[in-house]
Subunit: 224 residues, 2 copies
């Protein structure tokens, strides 16, 4: 956003006046390189030279576009658009469990893990750059929770689960626990893990059976 504003409004007039305009066609490559390096080394380990080299650009070129390393990173995170989690592309299998399981794809797992790497790399910067915290939250964290919320709301609408359910909180279960597992436990977020979340936490909490239907009815009433 930052550089888009500059590129499209302020600078453009001056650029067309004389000679050729600044070549913005390579900006996406630079931003992508920044994201890659960020994911691999973290914000503090990342150097401008690394990004420039990876993007096959000169360091000066980067500084012609972004005033500092911080601005570059903020822009890179804000412009980061990964695979679609748009409402239009979400699965619709007819049952909530079907939908949730259908969202487990190797591609989306891999993407989520990369997002988490990026988030880990940003961690040290988040407390001192609130704008970055927002950008990271919007690009990395929110989309999955939004998708979950949508699927659950649809399940409520068709009467599969009770409208009393706390879907606000439940929509955060998968992203939270996947983040915890990746960032802190350092274990892989594989299919088994996600299935155990669905069948061991989400569906039971929503009043649906988990994995083993045999456990239905075995639950005792609460000691009141």
């Amino acid at each position: 956003m930052t550089q888009l504003e500059l590129g499209e409004s302020g600078a453009a007039a001056a650029e067309t006046k004389l000679g050729r305009r600044r070549d913005h066609t390579r900006d996406p490559e630079i931003l992508a390189a920044a994201i890659e390096v960020l994911a691999e080394t973290g914000f503090d380990g990342m150097t401008i030279d690394m990004v420039a080299t990876r993007a096959k650009a000169g360091k000066a070129t980067l500084y012609r576009r972004w005033p500092s390393k911080n601005e570059l990173v903020i822009d890179a995170v804000a412009c980061m658009k990964m695979g679609d989690l748009d409402v239009a592309h979400l699965p619709d299998t007819g049952t909530l469990r079907g939908d949730l399981v259908a969202m487990i794809k190797p591609r989306s797992i891999q993407e989520a893990e990369k997002k988490m790497q990026i988030m880990a790399g940003l961690m040290s910067m988040l407390s001192t750059a609130p704008e970055l915290a927002d950008a990271a939250n919007n690009a990395i964290a929110k989309p999955r929770a939004t998708a979950n919320r949508f699927l659950m709301q649809r399940a409520i609408d068709r009467g599969e689960i009770s409208p009393q359910c706390d879907i606000e909180t439940l929509a955060l279960v998968t992203p939270s626990m996947a983040a915890y597992r990746t960032l802190i436990e350092r274990k892989p977020v594989d299919r088994d893990f996600l299935i155990s979340l669905i069948d061991g936490v989400l569906l039971p909490a929503l009043g649906l059976v988990g994995g083993d239907p045999a456990q239905r009815g075995k639950v005792q009433p609460p000691a009141s």
Copy 2:
């Protein structure tokens, strides 16, 4: 552990031979100072001078004990013992909900938030120092999950909840979601949030009612 071994076995003999031995009485203060600075500035923002100044020690003194900044931090995290989550001190109210709610104390919330600050500060280092990742996980993450698991197992033993429940996964719900909320969403982990986890996720998933008993029975059978 590292410095304890050195202090008690190898170096001790040499130290007693001549003059007085190295004064290890101030090590805890130094480690505590390191933890404080770590929580405030993160690993990369932390300097040895900051730690030395805060501990009212000389920088050279720190290097006499730990060979590098990394070792110091690893030791500080490993030796970090905060308020007790020992099994012996856990609440026992007779019901699982009572126990879980009894664990919500301003003191423990505050402590958990500090732990998360530390974890955030360590994040950038975790991928390059596996030993640190283990130390951090043991000191920061595991204790709360262990406590939750103990409370749930006790609830199983007294027949309050089904033994089929996936308590392994469910024990991680609170720490995971609290971590996500602190580190990524940057919202406070307050009592309301924890209560909504207990009543909106944990208890329903365990087959107990959540907050509002009126919703019992409204749940439809699963679409099979």
